[in-house]
Each structure stands twice: as C-alpha cells, then as structure tokens.
Symmetry: D2
Subunit: 153 residues, 4 copies
C-alpha cells in the first residue's frame, strides 16, 4: 500500500516539528551545534529574502522530513546552482519514498525556476544514502576538499 507523501514550503508554524527533525539529523551525523547556530539556520530558512530555503515532506499533515538548499550564482552558467545541504527523513518513516519525493520536488522546482543544476555531497561510505541517490544518477567522480577556517582570536 502506498502512503501519500506531500511536499510543501516550510512555514513559521512548523518550528517545533522542524526542531525535532533537525536534532535527529544532527544526532545522526554525531554533530552538536550551539543554539545560536540553530536559531540562525531557522531564521535563514523562514526569511523570504535569504537564498536558503526548506521544503518539508508531510504525511497526514505531520512533518516527517525536510530538504534545505542554498541558491547561488556560479561561473559556468547564467542560471544559478542549487546546493542541497541537508536532507533528512524521520528514522521511523523510512522506506516509504519520502527521501525520493523530496529530491523529485527539488528537480521540479529547478525546472520551473531554471536552475542549472542540483548538487549535494555524501560520505563515500554512506551506503544507505547512496542507494537512494543512485536512483537519480551515479556520483559524478568528483571528490571534495574542505578546509576549516579558524578566525584569529
């Protein structure tokens, strides 16, 4: 039996539901962030002028997952790129297509709003996530270099 998953824009009233999912997401990645970062991320998500946005997956009006993206200009195209930074589905709601529906939704937005591409990163050994991602296309052969920057004290 198929469960109907609906994707929509996040709304200010989703704050509590988002916070629970966000903490689940950070726990999955074994990351702990200061409350000031979570507060800023929420503000960016609901700020209609900021290029960060979030779409949520719902079942029976309950928010069970989200995608958070950043639209940015690039140098190889006139149209912007969309960087999918965060994708998460409640662990108790896996396997019913919510992750796939969230990515399909972004591709539909991208066609409508004329992005040049949608991209994201994942750990090479995250087999579960890659099983989902490989439905869309294989990883593109690029690796990431990432240098943390520590401001002078």
């Amino acid at each position: 039996m198929s469960v109907p998953v609906t994707i929509r824009d996040i709304r200010p009233a989703d704050h509590a539901a988002w916070l629970t999912l966000w903490q689940g997401y950070l726990t999955f990645y074994k990351v702990s962030l200061p409350d000031s970062v979570t507060a800023m991320t929420w503000a960016r998500i609901i700020d209609p002028v900021c290029p960060v946005f979030t779409r949520v997956a719902t079942i029976d009006d309950a928010v069970i997952g989200f995608s958070t993206c950043i639209i940015h200009p690039r140098t190889w195209a006139v149209e912007p790129a969309c960087y999918l930074e965060d994708l998460y589905v409640d662990e108790t709601r896996r396997g019913i297509g919510a992750g796939r529906a969230l990515i399909d939704d972004l591709l539909a937005m991208g066609r409508r709003d004329r992005w040049t591409c949608l991209y994201w990163h994942t750990n090479a050994d995250n087999a579960t996530a890659r099983r989902l991602y490989d439905h869309f296309a294989p990883a593109d052969g690029f690796v990431r270099y990432r240098l943390a920057i520590t401001a002078p004290q």
Copy 2:
C-alpha cells in the same frame, strides 16, 4: 631561485588577461561556453555587490592565474562558506608556487573575514591538481552527486 608571485583583487583593466586565462581554463576542461555566459561571469566577478569574486596571481605585473569563489550562507554555521569554483594557472607558469599562493591567499582572506570553511571539488583522477591540494589536507571522504536540470522548452 624563487619567483615572487603577488596575489591581488581582479580589476576591470584585467579583462583581456582574464579572458585569455579563462579560455585556457575551459580548454583544459574541454568545455565550450556561450559568449553570453563568459560575459555574465565577468560581470559577476567585477560586480562589488555580487558574492562571486576573483583574485589574480601576478608575476612582474602580468596576470598568470586566478581563483574564483562564491560566498554563500550555510546551515551548520553562522559564518558563510567560501566555495572555490575555479582555480587556474597559465600552463607555462606552473611549478613556481602560484596555485599554492592562490589558495594560501584565500585562507588568509577567510581568517580575516571569518568564513567557516573553504571548499572545492576535483575529479578523483586529476593527480596533478590533487598533488597541490593534498599539501593543505587530504580530500574529506565526500563524493558529489550533481544533476543537470533542463528547463522545459
């Protein structure tokens, strides 16, 4: 004998020198872009309000390489990330430290302007580039998924 490489902001008067390097860079990647894209990229580079910026490497006042980056907000930090999209040094000027100086320069900017990180991608089998990058840190174990988006006609 060490050759002094200087890094500075690009200026409108660098247009011709940039164009030659940009074409060399695209040729290296076997990419051909419409002139309208190159014109837009140049406009973004010299627009002081756009989050795309370019630094150039010079020897004796000749521009021999460049880095082009995009500053964007993210969700795991208050401070922005810097995405290094393009890095190139004239093929006849390799091996004198210009590539390394361009990355060092970005790290210094990041400390001054409080970015959270500097990141870039490279093809897993681009051994030449990775020899340079590995001086800074090894690739971080993440792979990239990237879906081209084709707008409806």
Copy 3:
C-alpha cells in the same frame, strides 16, 4: 481607442531596444554615465540571481518602456521591499497608459511574491510624473537625504 500594452520580463534579445530607451531616460535626467556602468546595469538586469530586475512594456512586440526594481530586505517586516529605481516610457508613446500599466504590473507581482511595499522617489517639482503617481496614492510626506560618497584616491 485603447492601445493594448503588454508587460513582460526583459530578455537578453531586448538589449538593443533597452539601450535606446536607457539612453533616452538618462538624457531626460540630463545624466551621462560611463559605458562601464551601463554594461553593469544590463548584466544585473539579465542576471537571474541578482535582486535587480526589469519589466518591459510592449506594443505590437516593440519595447516602448521599462521599470527597473531592486528587491531588498528591510527591518520593519519579514517580507522584502521593492524599490522602483527607474521607470521610463518612450516620449513618443506617452499618454496611452504604459506608465500606469508598468506600475500596476509591479503591484500584481508584489501581491503574488508577497513584498511588503513598493516605493520610489521623484523630484518634488516633476509635475508630469506626479500626475501619474498620484493615481496610486499621494506622496507619503517623507523627504530624502542623500550623500554622495567619494572614495579616497
């Protein structure tokens, strides 16, 4: 007899028509701008990532006027403001409602995209323009202070 004026987004192919109108607009204001400024303004207008945008008024597919706006965040509302910086109609096409149609179009965009307000400035003694503007609402009683800034040499 009413002449049908159509309002639409500007397109790259409108460059020549826009340039003629832009020069007419600057001539009206007795302003001369360097070509580098006009080139940057055009690039901002057609850059889909830049918050500057232009709508054009057309009659029988000929571009006869334009509005250029900047979307920006503000402090008294969550939703952005839209600043109408430039509004112009070809002097030979006045009196057929193109100016009014361009402002009506912006108001419709604002309702759809949820801007908090649309605002613009005009010289207190520009009676012709104010006759048009007063159809929408009287000036709001605010005056403008504007200090030119000269960068150190």
Copy 4:
C-alpha cells in the same frame, strides 16, 4: 565637557540592549510590530551574510544608540548604495553628538568600502531629526511614494 561616544559593530551579546532601544524607537514612531518581525530583524542584523547591518553608539560600554542599514545594488553606479533605514539614540542621551557620530561612522565606512551614496528618508515635518541631518546636506528635493502591498488571503 565632551562625552566620548564610540561606534562599533553590533554583537550577539548586545541583544538585550538592542531590544530596549528598538522598542524605544518603535514607540517614538507609534509603531507596534509582531515579535516575529523583531526576531527576524535581529537575525538579519547579526547574520554576516545578510546585507542588513547595525552599528551601535556606546558611552562607557553602554549601548545608547544604533544605525541599521541595507547595502543594495543600483542601476546608476557599479558601486552599491547604502540605505539607512533606522537611526535612533536613547532619549535620555540626546544632544551629546551620538546621532552625528553614527552618520559620520557610516560615511567613513562608505569611503572605505566604496559605496556610491548613503541615503535615508525622514518625515518632512520632523524638525528635530532634520536639524541633525541638515548638518550633512539639505534634503535633496525628492519626495517618496510608497504603496503598501497586501497579499491575497
């Protein structure tokens, strides 16, 4: 005797002091804003990626006033404009030069960061404010039209 007023960037630790001044400022203008707007404005102010920024005036480390501005691109210059949306000094600290110091500070920032202009609006009959502003330059002869936009329900 002159009282030393110092101007600096606002910091997250200034939240409580800012909130008191912000409420005083809104009370002065007889405006009441939802808490969600004040929360968003604070987030924009302390977000280093957002083009909204705040400078504060301090005396003996106490925050006694602020300026809040938005940097935006424009069409008549390559360099951005700076719109001073809010300027306020605690009513018990008037007359010691804090307002003037806040504007002088912005002019110095503008010369350093190469803005094309600094502008703001004030009610034509706000004689107290205009006495301060007229030290810099007279109002420039432009009036403002401003249409509130009400989104469809």
